[in-house]
């Protein structure tokens, strides 16, 4: 790579880093944490300029993910924490939520859209997150727990 090109790339990287603001929180395994996580993420989403419809989708995705972490992951255990990370640029919002639960394999979860599962009481949260966010990844944390990463991009002209 020519020297000028390399310098240009470094400047671009530096600009990108400067443009990204990151907030990290450690939350208790309570339903109050679900509300405070949603509020924190929506503040960031508002700064980026998402419209009302996207704000609703982002807020709901965060709630669903937080409920999974607090209720199904940490099972309201007061000794276990939930990690929330919010990274924002002018065009992109990234939210990462991690718990200290036993973890799970997505492939073994019942398909909530299968005819025989439509009347199940639960199991729709991840489906909604996938429908509402542009990117969604789930992985096991080390040494234990689950981490969900979701990204929403500001629509062009939005």
């Amino acid at each position: 790579m020519a020297r000028g090109q390399r310098a240009g790339r470094l400047i671009l990287m530096a600009e990108n880093e400067a443009a990204e603001a990151r907030t990290e929180k450690v939350l208790d395994s309570t339903l109050e944490s679900v509300d405070s996580a949603e509020e924190a993420v929506l503040r960031a989403a508002q700064q980026i300029g998402f419209d009302e419809d996207d704000m609703h989708k982002i807020g709901m995705s965060v709630r669903e993910s937080m409920v999974n972490a607090v209720v199904h992951g940490n099972r309201y255990n007061a000794r276990k924490k939930v990690w929330l990370s919010i990274a924002q640029t002018p065009q992109r919002l990234e939210v990462v939520i991690g718990d200290e639960g036993e973890g799970f394999n997505m492939d073994t979860l019942p398909d909530p859209l299968a005819e025989e599962n439509l009347l199940r009481h639960s199991g729709r949260g991840l489906l909604l997150i996938q429908a509402f966010m542009d990117e969604f990844q789930i992985r096991l944390r080390n040494p234990k727990g689950t981490e969900v990463k979701m990204v929403k991009y500001l629509a062009k002209g939005g």
Partner: protein, 114 residues
Amino acid sequence: MSVKLTTRQVGDVTVIDAEGRITLGEGASAFRDKVRELVTGGHKKLLLNLADVSYIDSSGIGEMVSGFTTVTNQGGVLKLLSLTKRVKDLLQITKLYTVFEVFEDETAAIRSFA
């Protein structure tokens, strides 16, 4: 605000007017308790009016499905009225449009129970 549930009788149909949020915690459990109370009290034709419900999460959807099952198992019927666009979207994403009978107009909904 959680959810406020008020009931009114239109002929033999019990209309549940819901207002607020049906989400994990108070909102979802209030809805569950109300449906059980009505079914236990012999009300078997239920119309859930969601016109003033601003927010339903997956727990709220779960309670609606459980309410539907509870009423159906008792030989009754639970139908939905006046969904907001967001709730319609949720029912579409979750394919629950194939489960619930949904009405825009209350008179037509009431008539459908006959």
